[in-house]
């Protein structure tokens, strides 16, 4: 009798246990009852200037919140200043004892390189556990973070498309009679006419921006900062990889910047001058190029800049909204040395889907580092300034889903809603090269040789400091000698294969 009771009890316990089992899916972290036993995931946090004084405070607030929702995971912030980010991440990703678990690749590396170096793990096993993470954005966006069809990185939310606008100081625009063109689309020739008038009226000022304006030149660089093989027409309908430095577009752009330089439209030492807000505040600069998905978005970026000197800027749109590989700015990965990838994925999931978790990263602590106005926009909290803030509010785009944050330092309440609308806007065109990742290993030596030559020549051309015909010819000769044709040929071969696979 006793024996049968015992068996019955064991059977009941077994059934009870098995009924709870489906609640924990593969890869999902089950929370221990004691939060001190939860795994701690180290996560990459960006700082622009120095260490973040409120790091511990924000980390504690986030962890308190994670406990309150029984997340089963806690976070440890690892601050990387953007200047040292490259080196620091390399060290952290090789530290077997205490590696960084979750990080993003922007300003550090590419998904391709991270996979080749065995620095990150595939996220494929988590597709079933967190399916919503892998269906939020257009399919082409996910492809930019895939290698051999496997998802290695989760793209960070953004518009995934942009156009280029030219910003011109409003007071200047009013003086030369073009203020009413604000928000309109203009050609480069029309812009040059405007700049000529502006220069005549204000000869001491510069009208300078980022001279590597690939959108204006018309390249999809396929993620290669050295432009060793690009698609023309920003990749729309492009079926062939070409040598950027032998295209008419590049030569025309160099002649354009030479014209800027010859007419005193750029600062004295452009290669060593950083186009930060200081130049706008001091009235050294009164124009420049900016990329964004919408005019109001770009305007809010400028407002976020703070004091830009005398008044506002007008914006002149130069081209259309297009998505390229370069429009996927960032993505998050799990380090291959991570000791608890399930917990890391859980934290990544919360960073992407829980607005409270997201805002600890993007804005810090409400009332301490930021406050919210009646429009739902965030501003720096009362009683703090730049030097006492202790947290970085200027880089929401660094984190997995900025769209869960609040627009910061702007009145543009639809900042993120309009950004999200781009994901489902059928009118936006995408480059045919979106998702193409070049395997550079077959032509590694040629690429390294070409990169050295690009470093030597390109900036002088892009800043209009040399005779274009003479210098460009020499530049191309050296690139030919270094083997750029091998690079283009190989890239083209892989691109054709990519197109074929995409079609099928």
């Amino acid at each position: 009798m006793k024996k049968s009771r015992l068996i019955a009890t064991l059977a009941a316990v077994s059934m009870l246990a098995s009924s709870f089992a489906p609640m924990a899916q593969a890869g999902e972290t089950e929370a221990a009852s004691d939060p001190s036993e939860w795994p701690v995931v180290s996560v990459d946090v960006l700082s622009f200037t120095d260490g973040l004084d409120r790091k511990d405070e924000v980390q504690q607030a986030l962890n308190d919140y994670l406990v309150s929702i029984n997340a089963g995971v806690q976070a440890e912030f690892v601050v990387n200043t953007w200047g040292d980010r490259n080196n620091n991440l390399t060290m952290l990703l090789s530290d077997k004892d205490n590696p960084i678990d979750l990080f993003s690749w922007r300003f550090y590396s590419s998904v391709d390189a991270l996979v080749k170096n065995d620095q990150i793990i595939s996220l494929e096993p988590y597709k079933e556990t967190y399916p919503d993470l892998f269906t939020m954005y257009p399919e082409k966006v996910y492809k930019t973070c895939q290698i051999d069809g496997q998802q290695y990185s989760l793209p960070s939310a953004d518009s995934f498309c942009n156009f280029t606008a030219y910003m011109l100081r409003k007071s200047v625009a009013e003086d030369i009679g073009v203020a009413d063109m604000d928000g309109k689309k203009v050609s480069l020739d029309e812009l040059n006419d405007i700049l000529t008038k502006a220069e005549e009226a204000y000869p001491d000022q510069a009208w300078w921006g980022d001279m590597k304006a690939t959108n204006v030149i018309g390249f999809d660089t396929l993620g290669d900062d050295y432009w060793l093989g690009v698609l023309q027409n920003r990749g729309i309908g492009a079926k062939e990889v070409v040598n950027a430095y032998k295209t008419d577009e590049f030569k025309n752009w160099c002649e354009q910047t030479k014209w800027y330089n010859d007419n005193g439209m750029i600062p004295a030492d452009p290669e060593n001058t950083v186009p930060t807000g200081t130049l706008y505040r001091d009235l050294v600069n009164s124009g420049g190029y900016l990329d964004g998905y919408g005019i109001e978005y770009i305007r809010s970026l400028l407002h976020g800049q703070g004091d830009t000197g005398e008044g506002d800027f007008i914006l002149l749109q130069l081209n259309d909204n297009v998505g390229t590989n370069a429009s996927v700015f960032d993505g998050w990965c799990i380090s291959s040395l991570c000791k608890n990838p399930d917990a890391a994925m859980k934290l990544l999931y919360l960073m992407t889907t829980d607005e409270n978790v997201c805002r600890y990263f993007t804005l810090g602590i409400e009332g301490v580092t930021y406050k919210v106005d009646e429009n739902g926009c965030a501003w720096m909290a009362d009683g703090v300034d730049d030097s006492t803030l202790g947290w970085n509010l200027s880089a929401p785009w660094k984190y997995p889903n900025q769209c869960l944050s609040l627009p910061y330092n702007t009145d543009y309440a639809n900042y993120y809603k309009d950004m999200q609308a781009c994901w489902t806007d059928d009118s936006i065109q995408y480059s045919d090269g979106m998702g193409f990742i070049f395997d550079s290993s077959p032509v590694y030596d040629q690429i390294k040789a070409c990169q050295m030559i690009v470093d030597q020549y390109r900036d002088a051309l892009l800043y209009g400091e040399v005779d274009v015909d003479e210098y460009l010819e020499k530049f191309n000769e050296e690139l030919d000698d270094a083997g750029i044709n091998d690079v283009i040929e190989e890239k083209n071969r892989q691109f054709q294969e990519f197109l074929k696979n995409s079609a099928s």
Partner: protein, 296 residues
């Protein structure tokens, strides 16, 4: 003959004046640029005499004073501890190698000399210090790697002992039953003050200027960074702004960064302490390096 000497001296003086000017002129430009308005630099480039004096670059650094003061403290701590330990180890090894009766002296000397020609390399060193000695994110990461002695300093020290401490004195001490430690510290070292100052200065300079160890071993504990790391980080941040111009627009803080002047101000701040200390060591330094450099 006397005429030739006179001509030689004049030519030598002219050459030395030119060499000195070449060393000093960039420094003047550095200081001048650091106190020139960002606007003027952007519009007209650098100049020896500031057209418009402006201390914005120093104000920007002043904003980060909390970190800078802490970093100076770390630098002083690391330099002091590191220099004392380094001089001690260099001296003891140099003394040992100077003793003619040391068994295996040639082998040990070659062993030291060999490291002047070939080093282990960055990656093996990093693995040893981080994986075996676990110095990552500790103050030891700033001190221990530089304690692996400079072979050049050891050879200077050994040569100095050989040339300037007569064997007879050491033998007399031995006959008076003085131990080897006593001979070193009570007899040999008092005769080696110029060389101690020289090696001390070399070590101090190495520790003061070192930023590589902080870069490699302080991946999390940024509060342990030395002044060179902080200044290097500031400089890298400014460079990063330049390389990512499109990102810098829209960043609220970027309006406060005098990017050109701040690099110059950083260099001035980093070099001033050494400029202040150097004259006090100079007399020992020259004497030490001349005597120690003679083949022993």
């Amino acid at each position: 003959m006397a005429g030739n000497n006179k001509v030689f001296r004049r030519v030598a003086n002219v050459i030395m004046v030119i060499l000195c000017a070449m060393a000093v002129i960039p420094f003047i430009l550095l200081i001048s640029s650091s106190i020139t308005s960002e606007q003027v630099i952007s519009q007209s480039g650098y100049s020896f005499i500031p057209r418009q004096i402006d201390f914005s670059a120093y104000k920007y650094i002043w904003l980060a004073r909390k970190g800078i003061v802490r970093a100076y403290g770390m630098t002083i701590l690391v330099t002091s501890v590191g220099t004392v330990c380094s001089v001690f180890l260099t001296t003891t090894l140099g003394y040992l190698l100077s003793r003619k009766d040391l068994v295996g002296r040639s082998f040990l000397s070659f062993f030291v000399f060999f490291t002047m020609l070939f080093s282990g390399g960055m990656v093996p060193s990093y693995i040893v210090w981080s994986q075996i000695f676990k110095v990552t994110n500790t103050v030891w990461g700033l001190i221990l790697p530089n304690l692996m002695l400079s072979a050049f300093n050891v050879i200077l020290m050994r040569t100095y002992f050989t040339m300037n401490v007569p064997d007879e004195i050491l033998e007399a001490a031995e006959m008076d039953s003085c131990g080897q430690a006593g001979i070193l510290f009570r007899i040999a070292l008092p005769l080696c003050k110029p060389m101690l100052a020289t090696v001390g200065l070399f070590s101090a300079l190495t520790y003061w200027n070192d930023w590589i160890n902080g870069l490699y071993y302080l991946t999390r504990a940024k509060e342990l960074q030395t002044i060179q790391n902080v200044l290097n980080s500031m400089s890298n941040n400014v460079q990063f702004l330049k390389d990512n111009a499109s990102v810098s627009i829209g960043l609220e803080f970027s309006q406060h960064i005098p990017t050109l002047g701040v690099r110059m101000a950083i260099a001035v701040i980093a070099v001033i302490p050494i400029l202040v200390i150097y004259p006090f060591f100079q007399q020992f330094f020259v004497k030490g390096i001349v005597i120690g450099g003679v083949k022993g």
